[in-house]
């Protein structure tokens, strides 16, 4: 397995270079260094000298990817792309264009994101699996039918509706939870309950339908019939055999998102005032802060690759027949 992990890690390098290059090109197609300087310096009373000075200080006065004036290797290394991208591979994110330490900001903002994302994932998994097992258990009955109808209806509703509706209903009308906000320490839980409920409820429709399909596929297989023939109760059949064998596709979906959990949720964090990473990239794009954009895209790519690797490894745990070679 070690060789497999090393091989996959090496595959990741060209992917990350490609992601970096693509981010760089897309960003600079839309924004020139002059635009970035203007955005950072503000709209009022900005002089050409101030723009030049800003670019020089941040190294945006160099050519983008190829320096015709330099010689030898300098033609490649004395460029914005090389300057800004190489150290990412050492996870040195440097400073944002507004002067903040990006690594420090990410370290600070990932915890609130995780505080919401982990409960949503765990509770959501529990609720979705339980609900879909129930639907599978009552398959073909009125409960299954109306359960599926409910799932389809819930899938069809926009996530924004859950957020606003949840805030108005549970926060404003019933006054059960704070509408928005965040805190650290002992009071944190009361701000987390509502976003977690909304996050879980909004995922029930799609999650339960997907898991129900997986369970129904397993439930008609020979080993399930054998289990029943042995005289096992339906609960034991479902939990001990059906659920266990449906774990691989469930793991695929869950493990792949594990590392990206800390990237946060843009909508939830925006509406609930959670100081997480959800809006970090969007805010940076709006502020034309290339340093943050490249750092976050790079990190997202790394985490996605890591997620896929973890998924592969998890298969070997869920199903001993799987071997990574």
């Amino acid at each position: 397995m070690m060789a497999y992990i090393v091989r996959r890690t090496l595959y990741a390098i060209p992917i990350l270079i490609g992601v970096n290059l693509l981010t760089f090109l897309l960003f600079f197609v839309v924004n020139s260094p002059d635009d970035m300087a203007r955005m950072h310096l503000g709209a009022k009373r900005v002089t050409d000298q101030a723009i030049e000075q800003w670019k020089v200080e941040r190294g945006y006065d160099k050519p983008l990817v190829f320096n015709l004036e330099a010689e030898g290797l300098g033609q490649v290394t004395d460029t914005i792309f090389f300057d800004k991208s190489l150290r990412l591979f050492a996870f040195d994110f440097g400073q944002s264009d507004s002067g903040r330490n990006i690594g420090h900001d990410i370290g600070q903002r990932m915890w609130p994101s995780l505080a919401i994302a982990i409960p949503i994932m765990l509770v959501g998994l529990l609720v979705n699996i339980t609900f879909s097992l129930l639907l599978a258990f009552f398959r073909g009955t009125y409960l299954d039918f109306w359960g599926v109808v409910l799932c389809v209806a819930m899938m069809s509703i926009s996530g924004l509706f859950y957020i606003i509706g949840g805030q108005v209903l549970l926060g404003k009308l019933l006054n059960l939870f704070p509408i928005s906000g965040y805190d650290i320490g002992a009071h944190a839980w009361k701000f987390l309950v509502l976003p977690v409920i909304i996050g879980v409820v909004s995922s029930i429709g799609s999650g339960s339908r997907w898991y129900r399909t997986l369970f129904l596929e397993e439930i008609n297989k020979d080993f399930v019939r054998s289990a029943r023939a042995k005289g096992l109760s339906e609960q034991r059949v479902l939990i001990g055999h059906v659920l266990r064998n449906a774990l691989i596709p469930i793991l695929t979906g869950v493990v792949v998102v594990l590392p990206t959990l800390f990237m946060g949720s843009l909508l939830l964090e925006s509406f609930f005032g959670v100081p997480g990473l959800g809006s970090y990239t969007i805010d940076a794009i709006n502020r034309q802060d290339f340093a943050i954009v490249r750092a976050m895209v790079f990190l997202g790519a790394v985490l996605y690759i890591l997620g896929l690797l973890l998924t592969d490894i998890s298969y070997t745990i869920a199903d001993p027949r799987v071997r990574l070679e």
């Binding site: 635009d35 503000g42 000075q53 900001d105 609130p112 009552f138 006054n175 059960l176 509406f271 034309q288």
Partner: protein, 690 residues
């Protein structure tokens, strides 16, 4: 405690750099320039803040001889402001001032190992203070000139303060030398700026080239607040920026508040500065202020609030709901909530809805010292008539006038601003000297005065002008088709569609085809700088309450295309420019008003702008929030606010009682729905295998 919210993270808290309202809302409570605006008096009046009195203005001729204060501006070679500050003012407690027992600075110099484990300013437990001196004001003026500080006013101040630009060059060279020698901080005290000097411990002077009467307003802005050199040196130490411990993040001032918590992704907290020098609530105000109880606090020591907590609320809906729950003391009104909060009366006046009144919420309205306008690029041959041909110039002017009549700003304000605005008759908003109201302030090109009010001229009159311009029925004789004009904008997407369509429809009234060229903001800025836009919309928010700050937007040498100035219409009119140069140095009075009237008449006749409207700010506050008088110029008004905490706690309790029965009912329903399922399950378990 005062609770409020902010929607966008402030970018800069360094007074040399910060220039946005959302940043000044915080730092104006911390930093203290020498002057401030009187909280109650209208028109706006400057009064001393840390200064002992108003600055003394001295005028000098070319030979350095003193001139009388009413000297002809053309004779003035230099003017000098002498500012004397009050002794005994002390800075907020700050680690930069902390010293050890042997009088050395406790936190300077710090090695990398000494910074280990320190991530915020709170990780520096020792704090101290020192007295504010004139040196600190001079130090800050020098900071404005340092190119690396990117002060937005550096360009402007370079035009006025003697030796400012030379100092910038000198400081830059010095900084480069220091950096190459691994010194991160350049001591600006050691460098001289010829136009700025310390006369004694509490007095400093600023020498300006020629006259610049508006300079006094700058002395009420944060750019001219004091900066202790120790603070800049403290933050410049190696390793501080990597830990995000910077002057831009942790301000240090003498004001009534200090920034106790700065986490702009969550909240920002201002706490009372224990070293505040003391100030009392003003005792002078208008009759309305007295009737509104504004003078009840006269003579009371400021500030009233111990702590102000601002929470980040990016979305309008939760922000509004939390205001209604009483968790925020004040709020603006988003378009979505407008109908819930405001009802417009029969005569067009804005009133609170019964729901708001029941909660005791109060409404404040004020016409802002801003203008939103649509501009013509005067370099464009069609709308600007940029040529020596008098006939072409006349055609273009008539075209602009016709469009000025056709675009119905009253309708715009009603549809897109919920009535929150006042159609502009000229470039000067109400509250700014030179603005005239009533018939005297009427723009006769666009309006006529009927039955005591301004009535927009008819579309027929606009068509007549269009015909005189050579476009009968809006038809371009060169093509035989409708005249095509181009509107450049950074607006795009579904949210802007109705607005852009409205513009198209306004032009259609004249038979003109308006083509909207939507682009991103970068490209839009580029077009404006290159002068390739034809029509555009723009706005301006006053820096200070002087007509110069609006009329300079159409001053020829400020043209955006040629000089990258703020004259986005690239309007050049020799007579207007001559009058502007005269007006800017005049004191407010009838003579100045006369010049302004002439200038505004030129603008109305030439119509380089469709004057658009002056936005009207609506804000709400709860009954427990006192002294909530809107002040459009001052930003340091938190110290005047008072909160009745008991009233707020009672209201929060009353308004937010948990309602549990729906949840109980939901639980019961779920339980009932499960019963048949359990029955079904048991039946299946007991049934025989099939």
């Amino acid at each position: 405690m005062f609770y409020s919210s902010f929607s966008e993270r402030p970018k800069f808290l360094d007074p040399a750099r910060s220039y946005s309202a959302n940043e000044w809302a915080f730092i104006s409570q911390v930093y203290e320039p020498p002057l401030q605006y009187h909280f109650l008096k209208r028109p706006y009046e400057l009064i001393p803040l840390t200064a002992k009195g108003m600055p003394e203005l001295l005028l000098f001729d070319e030979q350095g001889q003193r001139l009388p204060s009413d000297a002809d501006p053309s004779r003035v070679a230099h003017s000098e402001y002498r500012v004397r500050i009050s002794p005994g003012i002390r800075y907020q407690p700050h680690p930069a001032f902390a010293r050890t027992a042997d009088d050395a600075y406790r936190y300077w110099p710090l090695g990398e190992d000494e910074l280990e484990g320190r991530h915020t300013l709170d990780d520096f437990p020792y704090r101290d203070t020192r007295e504010l001196t004139a040196h600190d004001y001079v130090y800050q003026i020098k900071r404005l000139a340092v190119p690396g500080n990117h002060s937005p006013v550096a360009g402007l101040m370079g035009e006025h303060i003697a030796g400012f630009n030379d100092f910038g060059e000198q400081a830059k060279a010095e900084q480069e030398r220091d950096r190459s020698g691994d010194r991160m901080w350049t001591d600006l005290r050691a460098l001289e700026m010829s136009g700025v000097s310390v006369l004694d411990r509490y007095t400093y002077s600023i020498r300006l080239k020629g006259m610049y009467p508006q300079f006094i307003y700058w002395l009420a802005m944060n750019f001219f607040a004091p900066m202790p050199w120790e603070a800049e040196r403290f933050y410049a130490q190696p390793g501080m920026a990597e830990r995000n411990i910077t002057l831009n993040w942790y301000p240090v001032g003498t004001g009534p508040f200090m920034l106790a918590e700065n986490n702009p992704n969550l909240r920002m907290v201002l706490a009372k500065n224990p070293n505040f020098h003391g100030e009392v609530f003003p005792a002078e105000g208008t009759r309305e202020d007295r009737e509104a109880g504004m003078l009840d606090d006269a003579g009371q020591p400021l500030p009233f609030i111990e702590k102000a907590v601002y929470s980040l609320e990016k979305e309008a809906i939760p922000r509004w709901n939390k205001f209604l729950q009483g968790y925020y003391d004040n709020s603006g009104i988003a378009s979505d909530s407008f109908d819930q909060a405001i009802q417009i009366g029969a005569s067009g006046e804005a009133n609170l809805t019964p729901e708001m009144q029941r909660k005791g919420i109060k409404l404040d309205t004020a016409v802002e010292t801003s203008v939103f306008y649509m501009g013509f690029n005067m370099h464009d041959p069609v709308v600007g008539g940029e040529s020596a041909d008098v006939i072409e110039i006349e055609r273009a002017r008539k075209l602009r006038q016709a469009i000025a009549i056709a675009i119905d700003w009253e309708e715009f304000i009603s549809i897109f601003n919920n009535g929150r605005g006042e159609p502009a008759q000229g470039p000067l908003p109400p509250g700014i000297f030179g603005n005239r109201s009533g018939e005297a302030g009427l723009n006769p090109v666009v309006y006529r005065w009927e039955n005591g009010r301004a009535v927009r001229r008819s579309v027929e009159e606009a068509r007549q002008l269009l015909e005189e311009a050579g476009y009968p029925g809006g038809v371009d004789p060169e093509t035989g088709n409708a005249l095509v004009l181009y509107y450049d904008t950074a607006l795009s997407g579904p949210g802007s569609k109705s607005l852009l369509q409205w513009y198209v429809n306004q032009f259609k009234k004249l038979g003109i085809q308006l083509v909207v060229r939507s682009t991103d903001y970068n490209r839009f800025q580029e077009k404006m700088l290159k002068g390739t836009a034809q029509l555009f919309s723009w706005g301006w928010n006053a820096d200070y309450p002087d007509p110069e700050n609006f009329l300079f937007l159409l001053y020829g040498p400020n043209s955006k295309m040629e000089h990258h100035g703020e004259n986005a219409a690239n309007f050049v009119h020799p007579e207007y420019d001559r009058l502007f140069e005269r007006m800017k140095n005049m004191p407010n009075g009838p003579a100045r008003q006369e010049v302004i009237d002439q200038m505004v008449d030129i603008l109305r006749e030439e119509s380089p702008w469709l004057f658009g409207y002056f936005p009207k700010g609506f804000s709400l506050h709860h009954a427990w929030y006192r002294n909530a008088l809107p002040h459009l110029m001052a930003n340091n008004t938190l110290k005047y606010k008072r909160i009745d905490g008991g009233l707020r706690a009672g209201a929060q309790k009353d308004w937010n009682r948990p309602v549990l029965w729906p949840m109980v009912l939901l639980g019961l329903l779920l339980l009932v729905s499960v019963i048949p399922a359990i029955r079904d399950f048991r039946a299946r378990e007991r049934s025989r295998a099939r």
